[in-house]
Symmetry: C2
Subunit: 76 residues, 2 copies
């Protein structure tokens, strides 16, 4: 998978850790499988926008905040 | 498709219009089909995160800006 999914995965994990949530409880809250959360955090899944919305809800944040590490257009 | 894709579609169209780009030229820049852009703008496609990154690049903006209308967790 492309490198560019990693910063998203890190942002998800960082936010989950900040909330003190386990992968399991986040997964449960979002209606996902725990392995999906695990793969996302390692940049191994390319989530759809609707899944990102569900994740952001479960993490009590917004898609905009989860993706702000990707600021501005890339140069490649 | 769920309602929640519409604000994203509107943000894409608004940004494309602001840049004076046709659907065709945006599609070409991103390596998408014009019909995909058209469907996205009408909230009829649920793009993957990697496709959102390509779109944001083509629109000289960021995923965070395209999705900022979805601010904070929803209540439903």
């Amino acid at each position: 998978m492309p490198k560019s999914l990693l910063p998203l995965g890190r942002a998800i994990k960082q936010r989950r850790d900040a909330l003190g949530l386990s992968q399991e409880s986040l997964a449960e809250q979002c209606g996902f499988d725990r392995t999906y959360i695990s793969m996302l955090e390692r940049g191994r899944r390319n989530p759809s926008f609707l899944n990102l919305l569900r994740l952001a809800d479960g993490l009590k944040t917004s898609v905009a905040q989860l993706t702000e590490v990707y600021d501005g257009p890339s140069t490649d």
